[in-house]
């Protein structure tokens, strides 16, 4: 393998350069959140200040948008966990006709561009005369969140051996007891991880939301308005930083949850 080792210096440089390209732009957000400049995006910042944190803290519109985003993300996540788990349980349990179609159906809302999902929902709501509200936002979000829970749950169901469940029944447990003491503990970390990803997905979603929201502003919609017509750049900088932190934490947690489960199983 001498030749491969030689090539790997060049490869390493390309890989590291690629990772820098992925991460440096996000880090820049943290610098801009503290700049004293409030009318342009000048680099390097003329000075650093903590003032904008306080200004953002006292903004009711930011709090309202954040509150709506958290509400929508929580409800959508709960719906996605229920639907995604049911679907994964059925698909993993047996080979039956139309199994592939069901996988496709679950993946479709995320495989097709968001704008298709968005405008489809919007035209459906229009036809049915459903007014746009928090409810319609949640309908949209839950639909594309199902897939992440489904993916996590089905991977775990495949590893959960059927003999464990049969043993539980043989020992006289009821279906509910089996679910409570055997299936659920085995699934728990996968569902938690899937739920966190679903939460992050919903918290960040903007494309479908622009079509399904009425007058309500989720945090991404608030940010989009600022991107299109910048009015309060310093506040936007701070909000962007907060969004990075809020999405970063659940994803890191989801990673460690699924990783520990799989490594403890293999040892």
């Amino acid at each position: 393998m001498r030749s491969e080792r030689k090539a790997s210096v060049l490869l390493k440089c390309a890989a590291v350069a690629g990772l820098l390209f992925l991460h440096l732009p996000i880090l820049l957000i943290f610098l801009y959140a503290f700049t004293t400049e409030d009318t342009s995006y000048v680099f390097p910042p003329p000075g650093l200040t903590l003032d904008w944190l306080a200004v953002t803290w006292n903004r009711p519109d930011v709090w309202q948008a954040l509150g709506l985003s958290l509400r929508v993300a929580s409800v959508s996540t709960v719906i996605a966990i229920v639907l995604g788990t049911l679907c994964a349980a059925a698909v993993s349990k047996a080979r039956f006709f139309g199994r592939e179609t069901i996988s496709l159906l679950v993946i479709l809302p995320i495989a097709l561009p968001g704008i298709i999902t968005g405008i489809s929902l919007r035209s459906a709501f229009n036809i049915l005369d459903i007014p746009f509200s928090t409810f319609t936002i949640i309908l949209g979000h839950a639909t594309f969140c199902v897939v992440v829970v489904y993916n996590n749950a089905i991977a775990r169901f495949r590893r959960l051996s059927g003999s464990l469940i049969e043993a539980s029944f043989d020992l006289g447990a009821t279906g509910f007891q089996t679910f409570r003491y055997i299936v659920l503990p085995n699934l728990a970390t996968a569902l938690l991880a899937g739920g966190m990803l679903a939460f992050a997905l919903s918290f960040d979603e903007v494309i479908v939301t622009t079509f399904t929201a009425g007058q309500q502003q989720t945090l991404p919609i608030w940010m989009l308005e600022e991107l299109v017509r910048p009015r309060q750049r310093p506040v936007t900088n701070v909000v962007a930083m907060v969004v990075v932190v809020v999405t970063f934490l659940p994803i890191l947690a989801a990673y460690y949850l699924t990783r520990e489960a799989s490594s403890s199983r293999s040892t």
Partner: protein
């Protein structure tokens, strides 16, 4: 009562599966598939030129409108951009995925995995916002370029017809960079998964038989990783094609499909034309998926 119910369900798995599937299928079937059909239906309606109201009778008139030069340009422009972004994403993602899959070990591997996964999940709008800061006239790129005395190079690049513009943030180059940045994580992960499945003995055999590293890469590694590459390209291509926010914020005034859909359904109120525009990516993706399936790319998803 509960116990008997669970016993019945255990003995009749078909019924149990049906019960499990009913709620998710009702949700996805009614809300999602129903909406897709509503969209498809709308695209066969047309708009009355005089009243501006939608005429609810089936016609292909709206699809003819798609073929007018202005609308055709939008479709062509979007597909070219999606191809360019997909190609560039493959080029940049490949070394990262290859290094992470074949060379990194232990903690470095975890670092690379997280390094590729975090951007996938970090906020879409924040990414765009970061590039707005970077590409701005007073931003970091111009600062670096001027600091190195290379302003004339940037100006020469921006002077190119079509892809250039007054500044990076209003040119196709800007749109291209941001789309690439936003969607490239969707290429890295499937590619990495595919590269990890390339069997080590095959590479050793190729090496033993006297192939250079480049030959091994070209004749062994890349063909075996192709399904992963196609799987990644499905995402980058589809997501670029449907994006309407990036070109709206960073780019010239010439539209992409997503923007056309958004504009026609919003201010213009021409839902049939918006729907017809939205059908274009669906059809393109259907062909793409059909081709990918034939190449066995679905196993790598």
């Amino acid at each position: 009562m509960l116990a008997r119910l669970s016993d019945t369900l255990w003995r009749r798995p078909g019924l149990f599966i049906l019960l499990l599937l009913t709620p998710p299928l009702l949700w996805l079937g009614i809300i999602y598939v129903g909406s897709l059909f509503a969209l498809l239906l709308q695209s066969f309606f047309s708009i009355d030129e005089f009243s501006g109201l939608i005429r609810y009778e089936l016609t292909l008139k709206t699809y003819y409108e798609l073929l007018t030069p202005a609308n055709g340009d939008i479709i062509l422009r979007t597909i070219i951009m999606a191809c360019a972004v997909t190609a560039a994403a493959t080029l940049i993602a490949f070394p990262i995925a290859l290094y992470a899959a074949r060379h990194a070990r232990g903690r470095l591997k975890a670092f690379f995995y997280l390094g590729a996964m975090m951007p996938l999940w970090s906020s879409y709008l924040v990414k765009i916002y970061a590039w707005k800061l970077i590409l701005a006239k007073e931003g970091i790129i111009n600062w670096v370029v001027e600091g190195m005395g290379l302003a004339f190079v940037l100006n020469a690049i921006l002077a190119f017809p079509v892809i250039g513009g007054n500044s990076l943030s209003v040119s196709y180059i800007g749109t291209f960079i941001v789309l690439l940045y936003v969607w490239i994580p969707f290429m890295i992960l499937p590619l990495q998964a595919a590269l990890e499945r390339v069997p080590e003995p095959l590479l050793e055999a190729s090496d033993d038989l006297g192939a250079t590293a480049g030959q091994t890469l070209r004749h062994v590694t890349i063909p075996l990783a192709l399904p992963g590459m196609i799987a990644g390209s499905i995402f980058t291509f589809s997501l670029t094609m449907g994006d309407y926010i990036v070109p709206q914020i960073i780019g010239s005034s010439r539209r992409f499909i997503g923007q056309a859909v958004y504009a026609h359904q919003g201010t213009a109120g021409n839902i049939p034309l918006a729907a017809a525009f939205a059908v274009v990516p669906i059809v393109v993706m259907a062909f793409y998926l059909w081709y990918a399936r034939r190449r066995g790319a679905f196993d790598a998803l």
